[in-house]
């Protein structure tokens, strides 16, 4: 039996091993769609990155401190972000919650066009071209959203587009609670 005829079956079982591992991990209670972030309860990772709209200015992790904010990781090539975006725009119009965007692995003109076309809900848009900061944040895929409190501690993470239900049932109550705790109105 020549080795090259065995190659297909070897490749196949290597793939099966990975699938089995993933299924095992899901079976152990890990929800792939909602990866619990080990960062919850920890301070946001340090970063200093240029802004999307003003490339000569930077935004650092220090600037997240002082008020509760919703940090949203997005990209113009991301399909699910399109589902989510109108909701963010609506939030920015109807509430005073500060939404900070991290634009992930995007071309600047594409991202700018997106904001121009679809509305810009972000108080500041951080431009993470090589995805370095997103890796530190443990970003699994776009979109992802984090709630960061006044001390710059990550309190909540949501993977995938935010739904209206999720927003009303979890995100808004948590933000309100954090604001009260921090004495913010």
């Amino acid at each position: 039996m020549k080795a090259r005829y065995l190659l297909p079956i070897v490749i196949f079982f290597a793939m099966v091993a990975v699938f089995a591992l993933v299924l095992y991990q899901i079976g152990q209670g890990r929800n792939i769609k909602d990866v619990p972030s080990p960062l919850i309860g920890k301070a946001v990772p340090q970063f200093e990155l240029p802004l999307l709209l003003q490339p000569d200015q930077t935004f650092s992790s220090e600037q997240l401190k002082g008020h509760v904010s919703l940090v949203n990781v997005w990209a113009s090539w991301c399909v699910s972000c399109r589902y989510e975006h109108p909701l963010l725009v609506e939030m920015s119009q109807n509430t005073d919650i500060s939404i900070i965007g991290i634009n992930y692995k995007d071309e600047r003109p594409d991202a700018l066009k997106w904001l121009r076309d679809m509305g810009d809900p972000y108080e500041a848009s951080i431009y993470d071209y090589d995805g370095r900061a997103a890796i530190d944040w443990g970003v699994y895929g776009t979109p992802e959203s984090f709630i960061v409190d006044q001390q710059g501690i990550i309190r909540y993470k949501h993977t995938g587009p935010i739904s209206v239900e999720k927003l009303e049932a979890e995100i808004m109550p948590l933000i309100r609670e954090l604001r009260q705790q921090g004495g913010e109105s």
Partner: protein
């Protein structure tokens, strides 16, 4: 009672499938004709019982039987009747039942068109198909029974996902599944040939029409899915490199490679073991696709309900089916003798290049789809792979493939004549480049290097194929007409050219504007003036909507009246954008209502997309070509001739017996 009848029919079908697996295989092994004949019988019985199950589930949907959990989850009494029927395959359980139903349909089709197949071979084919069916029926009965009752019964159903309430989605899944499941026939032929040890040109000839027909269904299914995404998702995109899309695209790439490789095996006896591997691969990727979609291991915007228990079952099933076929391959393929020899410049080599390119393309899609999963599972970090990866990696692989389209058919088997080919093609090269410049300039008034290069390639595929057809006709004068297969191949190849031109011009020159418009406002795009006349509320059967009226004029003349809607469905309260599109051969005008603004007026999305239709016209031509090739007379005449020869032989034997 109705659901219980359906459930019972499924259980019976499972036992029949077991008989269909065991009896003919044992019969073929022991040489017992009566056991082998049971395969055909069991296939018919299985079709009957799976059809009954399918009909019962459909009936439960039509009758709004909300005591059935699956109906309650996916239907509603206000849902229009056509969507109540299509809701049968609107979610996991019903999709699987559709799979099983289509599988029994394909199996039955094999028994009908099998008159030319030797008894042993047919018996093994039935056995393999029966085995696949056992797997699917077991899967349905053990983890995903669509007939489970719901106590207490629901007062009304939760309704079908509004995204799926669309004419395109009524036929998209059946088409796609016909393609997936159809590859099981080519697969069964390959396994039967490996089992019997007769891997020859005849086997390839039998496989070709079946493979091509499945490929046609898959092509139409994918094109329909893309068309649906284009108008239903409301943002004008037509392909997203989403894992679920990739899952259907990978078997298509393997199937395309298989069609070309089968041609070499049939005509020249070469690439036999490779062809057999491709047949296994095409079907394995269909199964893999369903595993990825149904098990929840991949995160996708298609967001199907997922369940690890189902994932485990499919994975075990994959191991048994694919693992055993690949083991059989590793065991038997080394004994396969090579075919006729060929020189470096020959049609064999070019088809080999086609296969290599398609395999590289397949590998890039597979890697892009699985890499995030693999890295994450091994704890090597998390990445997400999106269109930037696929566009940069995939497109460069496709371009040489399009160049090959023009050359391949004109080169002779065994030994081609490169200089004669050059003489013949140089004018086509020049004309293609001129068209590459002229088409974008005439349509849009501008071009870029990339656009000209890509349009030239598309034109090249069309023109060189036309040249090939002309050559064949000239050579054929006086004889009977060209075979359907030649026309089929030519049309499919031209379809590829049409597709390339469409993708290029649409992606390079589409204009998209997001606007805030009030009644009476106008916007101008590429010469077209879009005016929002009004937005009025309307009521649908299970939704209410705001409907805009948009008049489009060109040079002061009205060219289209569009009425986009923003719908809110009563049960699933999900806002849906129903885009309104005026389509023509050279441009689409596309308007979608985004949302109502508090300050009055509407946020709207307006597109002008040149050559958008060509993106689907191309695949339709490919499918049409495939259909023509599959009905080529020679598949039937050869079958008839074999039967006649066999009858003649047996009557001769009988005569001799009588004489003696």
């Amino acid at each position: 009672m109705i659901p219980e009848i359906g459930h019972f029919a499924l259980v019976l079908a499972l036992f029949i499938a077991l008989i269909q697996t065991v009896m003919p295989i044992v019969g073929a092994y022991r040489g017992m004709p009566e056991l082998m004949a049971m395969g055909k019988l069991a296939a018919s019985a299985q079709l009957l019982f799976v059809s009954i199950a399918f009909a019962m589930l459909t009936w439960a949907f039509i009758e709004n039987d909300f005591t059935v959990a699956y109906v309650a989850q996916n239907s509603n009494s206000a849902l229009p009747i056509q969507y109540r029927i299509s809701a049968v395959w609107g979610a996991h359980e019903g999709s699987l039942l559709l799979w099983a139903f289509l599988l029994s349909l394909w199996t039955f089709a094999v028994t009908i068109f099998s008159k030319s197949l030797p008894e042993h071979f047919l018996a093994r084919v039935m056995g393999v198909l029966g085995f696949v069916s056992v797997g699917f029926l077991l899967f349905i009965l053990m983890t995903s029974n669509p007939f489970d009752r719901l106590f207490p019964a629901a007062l009304d159903g939760r309704d079908l996902n509004p995204l799926l309430q669309d004419p395109g989605l009524i036929i998209h899944p059946p088409m796609l599944y016909m393609g997936y499941v159809g590859f099981s026939v080519a697969f069964a032929f390959a396994i039967a040939a490996l089992l019997g040890g007769h891997l020859d040109a005849t086997w390839a000839r039998w496989s070709r029409p079946w493979t091509t027909v499945s490929w046609v269904f898959l092509t139409v299914g994918i094109a329909l899915g893309s068309w649906w995404a284009y108008y239903e998702l409301g943002w004008g995109g037509w392909w997203f490199w989403d894992p679920v899309e990739n899952a259907s695209f990978m078997p298509w790439l393997a199937g395309t490679a298989l069609i070309h490789s089968l041609a070499v095996t049939e005509k020249r006896g070469a690439f036999k073991s490779w062809t057999v591997l491709l047949a296994i691969m095409a079907f394995s990727l269909s199964l893999l696709g369903s595993f990825l979609v149904r098990s929840g291991v991949l995160v996708s915007v298609h967001a199907f309900a997922t369940d690890p228990a189902r994932g485990v079952f499919i994975l075990v099933f994959l191991c048994v089916v694919i693992g055993s076929s690949l083991a059989l391959y590793a065991w038997r393929a080394p004994n396969v003798k090579g075919g006729g020899s060929f020189e470096l410049f020959s049609r064999e080599t070019l088809l080999l290049a086609n296969n290599v390119l398609l395999m590289v393309a397949l590998a890039t899609v597979l890697m892009g789809t699985l890499a995030p999963l693999v890295l994450d599972a091994l704890g090597l970090g998390k990445i997400s792979v999106g269109p930037p990866y696929f566009d940069t990696v995939f497109v460069p692989i496709m371009l040489p493939l399009v160049i090959l389209i023009g050359i391949g058919p004109m080169v002779n088997w065994r030994k081609g004549d490169a200089s004669a080919l050059m003489r013949k093609l140089r004018w086509i090269i020049i004309v293609s480049v001129i068209l590459g410049l002229a088409i974008p300039l005439m349509a849009m008034g501008r071009t870029t290097l990339m656009v000209t290069a890509a349009v030239s390639l598309g034109a090249w595929a069309i023109l060189s194929t036309a040249q090939y057809l002309r050559d064949r006709m000239v050579r054929n004068t006086g004889k009977r007409g060209l075979s359907a297969g030649v026309y089929g191949m030519a049309i499919a190849h031209m379809g590829m050219g049409v597709f390339v031109i469409g993708v290029t011009l649409s992606s390079a020159f589409s204009v998209e504007r997001d606007l805030h418009m009030r009644a009476g406002d106008s916007v101008e795009m590429n010469g077209y003036v879009f005016t929002l006349d009004s937005v009025t509320p309307v009521n649908g059967p299970n939704y209410r909507a705001d409907r805009g009226q948009v008049t489009v004029t060109l040079d002061g003349e009205k060219v289209a009246q569009l009425s986009p809607e923003k719908r809110t469905y009563f049960v699933q309260t999900m806002p849906m954008t129903e885009a309104s599109i005026d389509a023509s051969l050279f441009r689409d005008l596309y308007v979608a209502l985004a949302e109502q603004r508090e300050e009055g007026g509407w946020a709207m999305r307006v597109y002008h997309k040149p050559f958008q239709r060509w993106i689907w016209l191309g695949p339709l031509l490919m499918a049409l070509g495939g259909l023509l090739a599959a009905v080529d007379r020679r598949y039937r005449t050869s079958a008839k001739r074999i039967v006649q020869a066999r009858q003649k032989l047996s009557s001769q034997l009988a005569d001799e017996g009588a004489k003696a």
